[in-house]
Symmetry: C2
Subunit: 190 residues, 2 copies
């Protein structure tokens, strides 16, 4: 997606060879027009899949997953990273490490909002090692729903998350693929 | 907003005299069409205010604040409830109690995304005691920006948050006002 690549070059900050900070467009400040474009792109990519629910994890994935769900005309469901006092006790829980937070958290999703008839698109902002994605995929499997695919805004190709999902036969579509951040420079794949 | 009231009656769950669970439409599952309607409603209410940024707090406020920012054509900025390893060290931090989480958390917002020229609309899903709102208003004040108003999806009139903000002269507009949840029944104000 050319607009996204352009915004990444303009506003992304290379923090290290591993970390590209997109807080100006994605993780803290959100560009609504760009985000709706990303939602339209995911909806177009997965439009033949009969998606019934878009799933994400709080918080950075919510805006783009919302835009995708809006374009597909289906509900968005987001997992929380830990239980609140109001959470449904009958929830799916998967423990996952977080690359950016440097801690282990629980992904929590109410059983009410996923069921065996669902065809699910998982959308997230960034995939690095894929721990959050793998946790969500386990939750989707446990619900009996089928995973139709994974939509990622920015894939870091030099980390193993997306590759390892594709090796499991999962369709992963990324709007921008980063080949390298070495020397403080963003290099896109392809 | 009639559509919202109807959805609250259909899908809200009264947990106690104090708590109405809207996880089916707002807090865990999000109804995108309803949410875009809410965004359009806030944009219409505040359209004369020259808003330059919409601000919210993760996570339940993000979808409706995004819809509002999209309709107004301005960026969305969301505060996080605690620091991640990637957070800008130069951030505003306000410590607030959380009614639903039963704990104290830090609201964290990068200084990069609010400045003295901004006219800010704060949007959130629910106002009860108003602790998150008060914390965000302090952050907005510290940035030098001006607060144009507060948009709330569901105001619980029997708790003091919205009332206390209005007493400070802040414009608070709520799309649904709950007068009471007694006896397990949702009663709207007005």
């Amino acid at each position: 997606m050319e607009l996204l690549k352009q915004k990444i070059l303009e506003q992304g900050v290379v923090v290290s060879d591993q970390v590209l900070l997109l807080d100006a467009i994605l993780n803290e400040q959100v560009d609504p027009e760009l985000t709706m474009e990303m939602g339209r792109a995911f909806a177009a990519i997965f439009k033949e899949e009969g998606i019934t629910r878009v799933v994400t994890v709080e918080s950075s994935g919510i805006a783009v997953a919302f835009a995708t769900a809006y374009e597909l005309g289906v509900p968005l469901v987001f997992a929380r990273r830990k239980k609140t006092l109001l959470a449904d006790p009958d929830s799916y829980v998967e423990r996952v490490p977080s690359f950016t937070k440097g801690i282990v958290t629980d992904l929590v999703l109410s059983r009410k909002f996923l069921n065996a008839e669902d065809r699910v698109l998982f959308v997230d902002d960034i995939i690095a090692n894929g721990d959050a994605a793998k946790g969500m995929i386990k939750i989707i499997e446990r619900s009996g729903a089928s995973l139709s695919g994974v939509g990622i805004v920015m894939e870091k190709c030099f980390q193993q998350g997306a590759k390892s999902l594709r090796e499991q036969g999962i369709r992963v579509e990324s709007l921008a693929k980063i080949a390298s951040l070495e020397g403080g420079t963003v290099k896109f794949a392809e």
